[in-house]
């Protein structure tokens, strides 16, 4: 009797689960960077519409692979795919949210945002050519600061990461030596320094090591109260990282719907643009018309209602002009 009861119970459970599944679920996978904001949006969206969105943060590489193999409804990647790869794998692509990478230092008597750096000196630091903090180049840019005669420790990301990709892309763009000797990518062979695992690893190493310099996602720098630096941007101004300078970069960056928004948001031309920003992208399989409509519905809702949530989590929402471009792109491709 007991066994029969258990069996019935099991069947009821399975059936009720299947019923929930049928309600509508969207599965996505990819970049770890936007995971907190996607899941926060998904939570709110679920409350309003009942649509369940599962997002697995398995890394950008995994996201691209999964959507190429059509095992998820959408993929997410921190670096944009070029038009020819999108063509080959039959994918749509559009940006979803903006983030930025900031250099962080650990210097006594220097507060967040006080230290000024230009691309050349940043590049030389990561090459190990500038060894001491009181190097004339740095001192000249920072007349008000008392910089110690201390050897600097360079800290980089040891695991393959979009953060490293954006950062090395920026260095390669501004510094010919970096481009020819090191190159860019999610993992590169850094000439000097030690590697921390993940943003949290780098943040922790920098916090713990006096006279160190590293780079992390802006959100991590902010949450861990690290001494982020100012950077000289393309227009020649020193800017502080923050919502305003990221938004400026996103607005002046040349996102083009014809190229499926392929763009590295480094060295944006705006007067107040933060030079090391980047969008994170959503990838859709071209032939899956039904699920694409549902995914687009979700992001359309998020673009309309999710900006505050994103800012709470220290992400930069897309500027209005870019949202308009994306909407046009959706309509043109029959996604909406």
């Amino acid at each position: 009797m007991k066994t029969v009861l258990k069996l019935v119970l099991a069947i009821v459970l399975v059936l009720s689960y299947a019923h929930v599944e049928a309600a509508e679920t969207l599965n996505g996978a990819g970049a770890t960077f936007p995971y907190p904001v996607y899941s926060a949006w998904a939570f709110d969206y679920n409350k309003i519409t009942g649509v369940q969105l599962n997002y697995q943060s398995i890394g950008s590489g995994g996201g691209v692979r999964q959507v190429t193999e059509r095992t998820v409804h959408f993929g997410a990647s921190d670096d944009p795919l070029k038009a020819d790869q999108l063509q080959k794998d039959k994918l749509f692509q559009f940006p979803a949210v903006i983030g930025g990478v900031v250099p962080v230092a650990n210097l006594e008597n220097v507060k967040p945002g006080e230290l000024k750096l230009d691309p050349e000196s940043l590049c030389k630091m990561f090459f190990g050519e500038i060894k001491f903090w009181d190097d004339p180049k740095i001192v000249k840019m920072n007349p008000g600061l008392k910089l110690p005669h201390a050897e600097m420790t360079v800290i980089y990301r040891s695991d393959g990461a979009g953060t490293t990709a954006i950062f090395t892309h920026y260095l390669a763009e501004t510094c010919p030596d970096w481009k020819s000797k090191v190159g860019e990518g999610k993992a590169v062979k850094f000439p000097v320094g030690i590697g921390g695992k993940g943003n949290e690893g780098v943040a922790n190493y920098v916090k713990r090591t006096p006279n160190s310099i590293g780079y992390v996602e802006f959100a991590y720098a902010k949450q861990n109260k690290l001494d982020y630096t100012q950077l000289k941007n393309k227009a020649g101004n020193f800017v502080e990282p923050g919502f305003a300078s990221f938004e400026d970069a996103a607005e002046t960056g040349d996102f083009d719907a014809k190229k499926d928004f392929y763009l590295w948001l480094t060295n944006a031309p705006g007067k107040n643009s933060w030079p090391i920003a980047g969008a994170t992208f959503i990838l859709l399989a071209k032939e899956k018309a039904d699920s694409n409509k549902n995914v687009v519905k979700f992001f359309d809702w998020a673009f309309k209602n999710g900006d505050n949530k994103a800012k709470e989590l220290v992400y930069v929402p897309l500027p209005k002009s870019l949202k308009e471009k994306i909407k046009t792109y959706w309509k043109a491709n029959g996604l909406q």
């Binding site: 398995i58 050897e151 420790t153 040891s158 393959g160 062979k189 590697g195 695992k197 713990r208």
Partner: protein, 313 residues
């Protein structure tokens, strides 16, 4: 009896299930080996065997990969961790079996087993947030100070004490493998017949002499087995090491420098390896570790068998 069990269908099912379970292990091993070889074939054809094993270059941008830095990191951390762990573990085992009063035996035994049950990610976090500051602020400056000027030793402790280096990683590893060695050593010590021990005490041997001349020779094999088990664990340990090793593809002479092990490289770079050669090189690296572990275990087994034969004679 055998004929009877053949007729019994339950018995037949039972014995075939156990057989399937055992053979599945062999199938798994060959399956894994097959996948490793086939996935790494691209890297094997590109870099060859000798060149891959002897090159210190690991550069995803230029797609040039060599395993030597990773092999070096794996071997050195394993070696140092065994150097620390073996004496401590054997000390624990001797204390628990021969010296400690009875009421202490159970709590110490349970503590050792608990140490073995802690997940490695927790060791990693603990290492990064707790051990590594202690190392960089106190232990490593002290080691630098006392070795300064001594020819070979001072080279071992060159550089800035960061707490994120081979030494810290080895210490974490040694803490992780102590439970294995200690509990197996303890069990083997316990197997020493009390008659033999009591006879030794009866002829006036001290505790030290009994341990040295009776218990340890009697249980050598078991202890050796425990060491091999922990060697296997140290070779393959990943998460705990990834946090405190600094992940640097370089060969260094100083224990205060960052390094990379095979498993750490795999864990760090696998998820985002976005081109075929890169991915294949990572599989190749895994194959190297597979072969390394296999050879280590084979050597250990060989010595164990040899000793066993000698012993049983």
């Amino acid at each position: 009896m055998a004929a009877l069990s053949k007729k019994n269908p339950v018995d037949l099912i039972f014995s075939s299930i156990t057989a399937i379970a055992s053979f599945s292990v062999i199938i798994f091993i060959f399956g894994i080996l097959y996948v490793l070889v086939s996935e790494s074939s691209l890297a094997i054809s590109r870099f060859g065997i000798i060149k891959f094993l002897t090159s210190t270059d690991w550069n995803p941008v230029t797609e040039s990969f060599g395993a030597l830095t990773n092999i070096y990191g794996t071997v050195i951390t394993t070696f140092i961790s065994l150097l620390i762990a073996i004496p401590v573990a054997i000390g624990i085992a001797i204390f628990v079996t021969e010296i400690s009063p009875n009421f202490l035996k159970a709590p110490i035994g349970i503590a050792i087993e608990l140490l073995a049950a802690i997940p490695s990610i927790i060791y990693g976090m603990w290492g990064l947030f707790t051990l590594s500051p202690i190392m960089s602020n106190y232990v490593e400056p002290f080691l630098k100070k006392i070795t300064a000027g001594i020819p070979v030793l001072s080279i071992l402790f060159q550089g800035t004490p960061m707490g994120i280096d081979i030494l810290t990683a080895s210490i974490i590893l040694s803490i992780m493998i102590i439970p294995f060695t200690a509990s197996i050593a303890r069990d083997s010590f316990n197997l020493t017949p009390s008659v033999v021990k009591e006879s030794a005490y009866a002829i006036g041997a001290t505790k030290w002499e009994v341990v040295k001349n009776v218990v340890i020779p009697y249980s050598k094999l078991g202890v050796f087995g425990g060491i091999v088990l922990s060697l296997g664990r140290a070779l393959g340990e990943t998460m705990a090491v990834a946090f405190v090793l600094g992940n640097n593809h370089r060969i260094t002479t100083s224990l205060l420098d960052a390094a990379a092990t095979i498993t750490v490289t795999l864990a760090n770079e696998f998820a985002e390896a976005d081109n075929d050669v890169y991915l294949s090189a990572l599989f190749y690296l895994a194959l190297v570790l597979f072969v390394m572990s296999f050879i280590t275990l084979a050597i250990a087994k060989f010595f164990l068998l040899k000793a066993e034969r000698k012993y049983s004679r």
